[in-house]
């Protein structure tokens, strides 16, 4: 199944893009999705505790399952003022 991944702030810089499509196994969780991303961009590993995650713009947890066509957002905080 395919999910759309949205990236924000520092994650955009690391991955060089604001969104991408990722092929995941049926029943994959948000954590699985992020692990797939971190495999392509190793700099992302270890940043989970700094992220808000959402599925289809609704609050989600790392153990929530994704479904085909979902949009999964990974949102780090920004600190500028």
């Amino acid at each position: 199944m395919m999910v759309e991944v949205l990236l924000f702030a520092g994650l955009r810089e690391v991955c060089g893009q604001t969104q991408m499509h990722i092929e995941l196994a049926e029943g994959a969780t948000v954590a699985d999705c992020f692990a797939d991303l971190a495999e392509r961009f190793p700099e992302l590993s270890g940043s989970r505790q700094s992220l808000v995650v959402a599925i289809n713009e609704e609050y989600a947890t790392w153990t929530d399952q994704t479904a085909d066509g979902d949009t999964v957002a990974f949102i780090p905080p920004v600190s500028g003022g």
């Binding site: 924000f8 702030a9 520092g10 604001t18 940043s47 505790q49 700094s50 992220l51 808000v52 959402a54 713009e57 609704e58 609050y59 957002a73 949102i75 780090p76 905080p77 920004v78 600190s79 500028g80 003022g81």
Partner: protein, 267 residues
């Protein structure tokens, strides 16, 4: 502040009085409110301008920085002649000419774990427009422990974030972001689109007015994401983390506590 609005005030705030959701009752609430702005930089300047014009009763201006030439691209309270002067003093002078109803309290200090509880005490609302993660976690801790609502806004390049924090009505900053990310450069180094500071600062001021008038606001428990490159916004509903060390079921943080972050200097 008297219960009735004086004639000049009725004229000054006419456009608020015309709004049924604000009206004379709401405007009087604003005129009695005490709001502390943390950081008078890119976000603090527009937020303070709109809160002064809107007629908050007392506006605290907290910043320990001096005006630098690299601030002038976006920090709209300051001009070339102000370089080298304390931001809070220049801001007070600029804001004082806008609205005599507002008591301006410049506080030339840096908010730290040791003074945070004292600095937030007595304010009805705190607005965080600071420029570094260390301050953001400490402001959050002090506000949550003092039960003071907090409006948190921040920017990075073309992106901005705003949320309103008041547990248990919303999650706290630590629920959302348990740890700060790795070093994030200051605006001067990372770059920031100048008008984005006005967009985010204005949203923060709008949330402050609504929260003061109505006791609740749309961004309570929602994280607003603004992308000024795509000219788009998204918002995500966020929830409290029951394991949060500050506002969770078994909290371990009982005083403002520093998080390990790399340096970020000037916004």
């Amino acid at each position: 502040m008297k219960d009735r609005l004086e004639a000049e005030q009725a004229e000054r705030y006419q456009a608020h009085l015309a709004l049924p959701k604000i009206g004379a009752t709401g405007q009087r609430r604003l005129l009695r409110s005490r709001v502390l702005m943390v950081g008078i930089g890119g976000l603090g300047c527009p937020t303070a301008l709109y809160l002064t014009a809107s007629g908050v009763g007392t506006l605290g201006l907290l910043d320990d920085d001096i005006v630098d030439r690299s601030n002038l691209q976006r920090q709209v309270l300051y001009g070339t002649a102000d370089i080298g002067k304390p931001k809070v003093q220049v801001a007070r002078e600029r804001l004082a000419g806008i609205n005599p109803d507002v008591d301006l309290e410049p506080i030339e200090e840096r908010l730290t774990p040791s003074n945070a509880m004292d600095l937030v005490e007595g304010w009805d609302l705190v607005i965080d427009g600071s420029d570094n993660f260390a301050t953001r976690y400490v402001v959050n801790d002090a506000c949550v422990l003092s039960r003071i609502p907090l409006i948190s806004g921040s920017i990075f390049q073309f992106e901005g974030q705003v949320t309103v924090i008041q547990p248990p009505l919303s999650p706290c900053y630590r629920c959302l972001f348990r740890l700060p990310p790795r070093e994030q450069p200051a605006c001067r180094d990372a770059g920031v689109l100048a008008p984005l500071t006005g967009i985010i600062g204005s949203i923060m001021a709008a949330e402050a007015v609504k929260l003061t008038v109505a006791g609740d606001t749309a961004l309570m428990g929602r994280l607003l994401l603004v992308d000024s490159l795509e000219s788009s916004t998204r918002s995500v509903r966020v929830k409290s983390d029951p394991t949060c060390p500050l506002c969770g079921k078994e909290p371990s943080i009982d005083r403002p506590t520093a998080v390990a972050v790399c340096r970020s200097s000037d916004a």
